[in-house]
């Protein structure tokens, strides 16, 4: 084919296409002008690009050769029909027309107040629930930090394969490692390291314990803040470790009554004078620290493996997180080469940067996704219900619609009118939903586990939340409005106009759509119920787990003894004194001291078992180290399996001893009797004395109910020589544990009036808090599942009721012809249950998908748990049966004479 011929063919095709374009666009043109409009455009295009009938040899000579290179010109010209068509359509879209639609919609909705109320309330519940969950997700996961440009605020964490340590960010780096990062990572504009601890503000009314941050480099520029009052740390403050301090806004308000004159004054921290130099803003809370002091260390003299620092950094302008990670990776490899021989844990270790938001909320993201999806399902169910209601109502409007069509309204025009109504309903639902959400959020704030939320997070309805609500309301309006509008506007004009009032056309199609709605509702409800069922199942299992300690009536509280008042043996002596005094309180049966207790044992250390081979290839022995006094095991109810517990004779001047748990014994002394063996605490390169194993205690769930017991070893508080000054007092009582708190406080004050206690809670609470996220998810998902079940029941009930009233005549005829009433009920129920069955099958598939997605949340529960699945299907099937049986029963009450007289 010649080039001209090809071009001609293309032009021909383009012309045909442009005719089609014009036809489609003509839908925008008002009906009366449409034919003319199409003729004009088609005519112009045809006379330009196919000026004559090609079969006419005379005219053919007049065809101008197609212009090369512009074969698509017809399409371009036809494109101009779009603004032209829109110009015509704008009559329809004028504000007055829209406002007419809106006014008409308002009248229509007001004419059926019960219907409107039902729809608005249903929508409001769905939208409100979504708003609440979204604002929680926004505050906790998406935007928990109000820092300047929060995505540039970075945390640095580590992975130590050799120590079996996954990615963690908490107290993972040492001073020399921090020094390396400052020098080698140019992607960071600002880097600060910090350590955490507890300090007491003394003087004034009552001694108060504050969670404190010790900053090596000022954190203000990292977070992008200025102090609310006063100044931040200068570099001299840091290097000289000046006695200066900043306090949080909330402590300034609570303890200093927001008095600006306290800046520059002297406060006593752990009984030493500090100058208060500033107040940091509420949004700058880092890990909830209320008191900031400067700190620095010399990287050259500090050991590489004393890893107690957290790192927070700000990306330099134009630098990316990837660049930072690449530089950190390079640094980790260099460090491995240089120090790998000395420090074995550097083998394949990694330095990892993440946004501060990720560092803090990464673990919550899957939960947030599941909750958002679950509540989204609820909204979808709501939409389906509303769509079903609209569809049922549309039957009564058939004549109205037909009349409008007869008077010249196009289908688009009618759909628009109907969609205006649903948009209005959605807007009202959204409005009421936000009001409901406001109260829902208050309730949520009381129930959300406080340890889940970064302290700076604000649960509130802000602009982002409102935007989300508007978005989902709009989507909901289209979702529930479109199908009924399409169905209603599709009508056979003639038949509709000929109908008597009260009758309708399209029954069969509408019934099919109703059936589809029921199937969707059942599928969604099943999925949510299965989700809730899986969580309940998992939670019950979690509760059946034996914690390994006796949790009844145990009170715990923490004391941090200031180093400048108590050191070395004085710390053990203080607790000796305290436990003796506390034991005299009426109702107390035992008292003990220890640095940590299940379910949150956190202090982890390397050790070297002597006389036993290391069984785990490629990893170093690591265990949790607890300092405990001689009453610790009995007070917590941890049985001694072999050997002995600590005694008062295990003093610093005697032989050093340790007690290990069963898991440590099994892991590192397999097939050997560990009693009498020795372990060296710390890394192989450390110069620590070794200690003798004198006892083995039973395992506890020391890392939480959901985890296996971890290796743990215990050292006597008396032999620890005061290396740790943050110690829990553990009291077992015969009376309700919380009732003795004041008596215990009095005993502490009797020893040292300036010594605050904090972190007061019972052991029961500690275990409950530990599963709080699961309980919260369970609570929320159960609520959603209950809503879903109710919505599905209401939906099925409505559809069957409608079917009964729609088919009154038919039922009357059947009864007149001898059908039994039970057969009629059976028929109605059977027909209602077909879509239910379809929904159950589809829902089953969805549920299995959900189970897989939720597997990470479930404790020893299978994602496709057959018991849960079958139980839920029985419940939902039963509810569906009831919801269809009750209205179907009404069908049997149809009086055939009345029914036949309807016409």
């Amino acid at each position: 084919m010649s080039r001209a011929a090809i071009s001609g063919t293309v032009t021909h095709l383009a012309l045909q296409l442009s005719f089609a374009v014009v036809r489609v666009l003509s839908l925008f043109v008002p009906r009366l002008e449409r034919a003319d409009w199409v003729e004009e455009w088609h005519g112009e295009l045809r006379s330009r690009y196919a000026p004559a009938d090609a079969s006419d040899p005379l005219a053919a000579t007049n065809v101008p050769p197609p212009r090369f290179g512009r074969p698509f010109q017809p399409l371009r010209d036809a494109g101009g029909a779009l603004p032209d068509a829109l110009w015509h359509a704008r009559e329809d879209w004028r504000f007055e027309m829209l406002s007419h639609d809106v006014r008409f919609a308002i009248r229509t909705l007001l004419a059926r107040p019960a219907f409107t109320m039902t729809v608005v309330v249903t929508l409001a519940l769905g939208i409100g629930a979504n708003t609440v969950i979204y604002s929680a997700v926004d505050a906790v996961v998406l935007n928990p930090f109000d820092f300047e440009d929060p995505d540039s605020v970075i945390g640095v964490g580590t992975i130590y394969p050799k120590l079996n340590r996954d990615l963690g960010f908490f107290e993972r780096l040492s001073a020399p490692e921090f020094g390396d990062i400052i020098e080698n990572v140019s992607a960071f504009e600002q880097v600060a390291a910090f350590d955490l601890g507890n300090r007491q503000i003394t003087g004034g009314d009552a001694p108060q314990n504050l969670f404190a941050g010790f900053w090596w480099h000022d954190v203000m520029p990292v977070l992008g803040f200025e102090p609310v009052l006063g100044r931040g740390f200068s570099s001299e403050d840091i290097t000289n470790r000046e006695p200066v301090a900043l306090i949080s806004h909330r402590v300034w308000q609570a303890r200093f009554a927001g008095d600006a004159s306290v800046i520059g004054s002297t406060i006593r921290i752990d009984d030493a004078p500090f100058t208060l130099i500033g107040v940091f803003p509420p949004a700058a809370l880092v890990y909830g620290t209320d008191l900031w002091m400067p700190m620095s260390a010399d990287p050259a003299t500090m050991p590489r493996n004393r890893r107690q620092y957290n790192i927070i950094a700000r990306l330099a302008d134009g630098a990316s997180l990837d660049q930072a990670n690449a530089q950190l990776e390079a640094l980790a490899r260099r460090t491995q080469q240089e120090y790998g021989a000395e420090f074995e844990e550097y083998e394949d270790w990694r330095l990892v940067a993440r946004t501060w938001t990720d560092v803090n909320v990464q673990t919550l993201k899957p939960a947030a996704v599941i909750l958002l999806a679950a509540v989204g399902f609820v909204l979808l169910l709501v939409c389906t219900n509303v769509a079903s209601l609209l569809l049922a109502r549309s039957a009564g409007r058939q004549r109205e619609i037909a009349l409008r069509a007869a008077l010249g309204a196009g289908r688009l025009r009618i759909i628009r009118q109907l969609l205006t109504e649903s948009a209005l309903l959605a807007a009202l639902g959204g409005l009421v939903g936000v009001i409901l959400a406001y109260f829902g959020l208050q309730a949520l704030t009381l129930n959300i586990p406080s340890n889940l939320i970064p302290t700076s997070a604000n649960l509130e309805i802000n602009a982002r939340v409102l935007g989300y609500t508007a978005l989902i309301s709009g989507i909901a309006g289209i979702v529930f409005g479109l199908a009924p509008a399409m169905q209603t506007s599709r009508l056979e004009l003639q038949r509709a106009l000929n109908l008597e009032s009260g009758q309708s056309t399209g029954s069969r199609r509408r019934r099919r759509l109703h059936g589809a709605f029921v199937a969707v509702e059942v599928a969604l409800a099943l999925t949510l119920l299965v989700g809730a069922g899986l969580l309940i199942n998992s939670f019950v299992r979690l509760h059946r787990v034996q914690p390994g300690v006796d949790t009844d009536n145990v009170l715990t509280m923490r004391l941090t003894l200031p180093w400048n008042k108590y050191s070395d043996e004085a710390i053990a002596a203080f607790f000796d004194d305290l436990t003796e005094r506390v034991a005299t309180i009426p109702g107390v049966t035992a008292a003990a001291a220890g640095t940590q207790y299940p379910p949150i044992v956190f202090s982890r250390l390397q050790f070297v078992p002597e006389g036993a081979e290391i069984v785990e290839e490629g990893s170093l022995p690591v265990g949790y180290l607890t300092l405990a006094d001689e009453g610790y095991f009995d007070t917590l109810g941890i049985p001694v399996v072999r050997g002995r517990r600590f005694t008062r004779q295990d003093r610093l001047d005697g032989p050093l001893v340790t007690v290990i748990n069963q898991t440590l014994a099994n892991t590192y002394f397999p097939g050997v009797d560990p009693l009498g063996k020795r372990i060296k605490i710390g890394a192989p390169e450390d110069e620590n004395p070794s200690v003798e194993i004198v006892g083995i205690v039973a395992d506890t769930k020391n890392r939480g109910l959901g985890s296996d017991p971890q290796p743990e070893f215990f050292v006597s508080l008396r032999q620890a020589n005061g290396v740790n000054n943050q110690i829990y007092l553990i009291v077992r009582t015969a009376v309700p544990a919380i009732s003795i708190v004041e008596d215990v406080r009095a005993q502490v004050a009797a020893i040292d009036a300036d010594q605050p206690v904090y972190g007061i809670r019972t052991l029961d609470q500690a275990f409950a808090d530990q599963v709080a996220p699961q309980r919260f998810a369970l609570l929320m998902l159960s609520a959603f599942a209950a809503m879903a079940l109710a919505l599905a029941a209401v939906g099925i009930y409505g559809v069957v009721s409608y079917a009964v009233s729609d088919r009154t005549r038919e039922i009357g005829v059947r009864i007149a012809l001898g059908a039994g009433r039970r057969e009629v009920i059976g028929m109605m129920v059977r027909q209602a249950l077909i879509p239910v069955a379809i929904g159950l099958v589809v829902g089953l598939g969805l549920s299995i998908g959900l189970g897989v997605a939720m597997a990470g949340f479930l404790f020893e529960a299978n994602g496709a748990d057959p018991l849960t699945l079958s139980l839920v299907m029985v419940v939902l099937g039963g509810v569906a049966f009831l919801a269809s049986y009750v209205p179907a029963k009404r069908a049997s009450a149809v009086d055939p004479v009345e029914a036949l007289r309807v016409e």
């Binding site: 003319d36 003729e39 004009e40 088609h42 005519g43 112009e44 045809r46 006379s47 330009r48 000026p51 004559a52 009938d53 006419d56 005379l58 005219a59 371009r76 010209d77 036809a78 494109g79 101009g80 029909a81 779009l82 603004p83 032209d84 110009w87 015509h88």
Partner: protein
């Protein structure tokens, strides 16, 4: 006259072309060099303002010419007034436009 403020450059160009005897859509496009998406809405608008009228060509004429019948546009009296006024107002635009069409500015009637 208030309405002159409604006339954009392209509307004036289209109106001008119609007054010069370019009577149907694609012809006007060729005369003004404006795309169809500009010419047609301008024509609709001018028609709405009463500056142009339109009429369909007789079917026989079109059949004889072996082409689809055309919709012809014609400038009205009010249109002529508006055009003259517009060309006065947009003097800067008027000159090249007038030159291009080889036209002298019409006097207001």
């Amino acid at each position: 006259m208030v309405q002159r403020f409604h006339l954009t450059y392209s509307s004036v160009a289209v109106l001008h072309a119609v007054s010069r005897g370019y009577r149907y859509g694609f012809d006007i496009m060729d005369a003004t060099g404006l795309p169809s998406g500009t010419v047609y809405p301008a024509l609709r608008r001018l028609k709405q303002l009463g500056y142009v009228g339109s009429s369909w060509e007789a079917r026989e004429v079109a059949a004889d010419a072996k082409r689809p019948r055309r919709r012809y546009y014609e400038i009205s009296k009010r249109g002529a007034v508006a055009l003259a006024d517009a060309l006065q107002r947009f003097r800067l635009l008027n000159e090249p436009l007038a030159e291009a069409c080889g036209d002298e500015v019409a006097e207001p009637s």
